[in-house]
């Protein structure tokens, strides 16, 4: 069946306990982290204050 998980044999510690590409929860966390980073990037570029250039007077 799709979604076979062989992660029960792996003993992860530290960061890899939550973020690994073997257990289903590890994969899910990686996916959520990637989506969140992209969302943060988009938000940052949308909300950062725009630099105002001084107006140049025509002579």
């Amino acid at each position: 069946m799709a979604g076979h998980d062989s992660g029960s044999q792996h003993q992860f510690t530290g960061f890899q306990k939550y973020f690994n590409s073997y257990t289903i929860t590890g994969r899910r966390n990686y996916v959520i982290a990637t989506y969140t980073s992209i969302a943060m990037l988009i938000l940052y570029f949308k909300l950062r204050p725009k630099k105002k250039t001084p107006a140049v007077a025509d002579k």
Binding site: G3, S21, R27, R28, V31
Partner: protein, 227 residues
């Protein structure tokens, strides 16, 4: 009346009244009406046998929750099959050549499978966006690639059906035009072209049935991942 090659794909209308709904409902008129008799006639038995065959095939890889989808998948299969096959008759309109209709079928059903998965088993559904055992440096790229492939599914479903049927109908029209045009000029070549037309028609009958089956099969596959 001079017909261009694309007039066969124009949505039918009578004095400005669109007939597309009629074109879509028409195939159901050809199916036998269910009766209260236990053993009916040959046509009903044949229809029942065929529906049983397709439903069993579709439901085989699905778990019990997926069996709720039996009615919609089987009826979708019958609808597409009948529309595709009837469209091969001369001067008939094939609703499945319209991208709008195929997208209207593909998009909501795909979305339903996706939302079912996200609602009932969110961890598994999200986890499937990253293949097991991916090397760490490749993970963000692969997640984006898998997301793209997920989002392109309804588009692929709709366009596959539209393109296959439109291309087939267009080819039949072109080759039959060639056959008729060549008949007074080069009769031998015309006979060869008519042979090609015969083979193409047989191919189109196969394609009509296969495309209907593939549409429903892919939907059941997407459902398998999510239910």
């Amino acid at each position: 009346m001079n017909l261009s090659f694309f007039d066969q794909f124009m949505s039918p209308q009578l004095l400005g009244i669109p007939l597309i709904m009629l074109a879509m409902m028409f195939p159901t008129l050809l199916l036998p009406f269910p009766t209260t008799r236990w053993i009916t006639n040959r046509l009903s038995t044949l229809q029942l046998w065929f529906i049983h065959l397709t439903t069993k095939q579709l439901m085989l890889p699905l778990n019990k929750g997926g069996h709720k989808w039996a009615l919609i998948l089987t009826s979708l299969m019958m609808l597409l099959l009948m529309i595709n096959l009837l469209g091969l008759l001369p001067y008939t309109f094939t609703p499945t050549t319209q991208l709008s209709m195929n997208m209207a079928l593909a998009f909501p059903l795909w979305l339903a499978t996706l939302l079912t998965g996200l609602r009932n088993q969110p961890t598994t559904s999200l986890g499937h966006l990253l293949p097991e055992g991916t090397p760490t440096p490749l993970i963000p790229a692969l997640i984006l690639i898998e997301t793209t492939s997920l989002l392109i599914r309804p588009l692929a479903l709709g366009v596959r059906l539209t393109a296959n049927l439109t291309a087939g109908h267009l080819l039949i029209q072109l080759i039959s035009t060639a056959t008729i045009t060549l008949l007074p000029i080069l009769p031998t070549v015309s006979i060869l072209t008519s042979l090609i037309l015969l083979l193409l028609t047989i191919l189109e009958i196969a394609v009509a049935m296969i495309q209907a089956y593939v549409f429903v099969l892919l939907l059941s596959l997407y459902l398998q991942e999510n239910i």
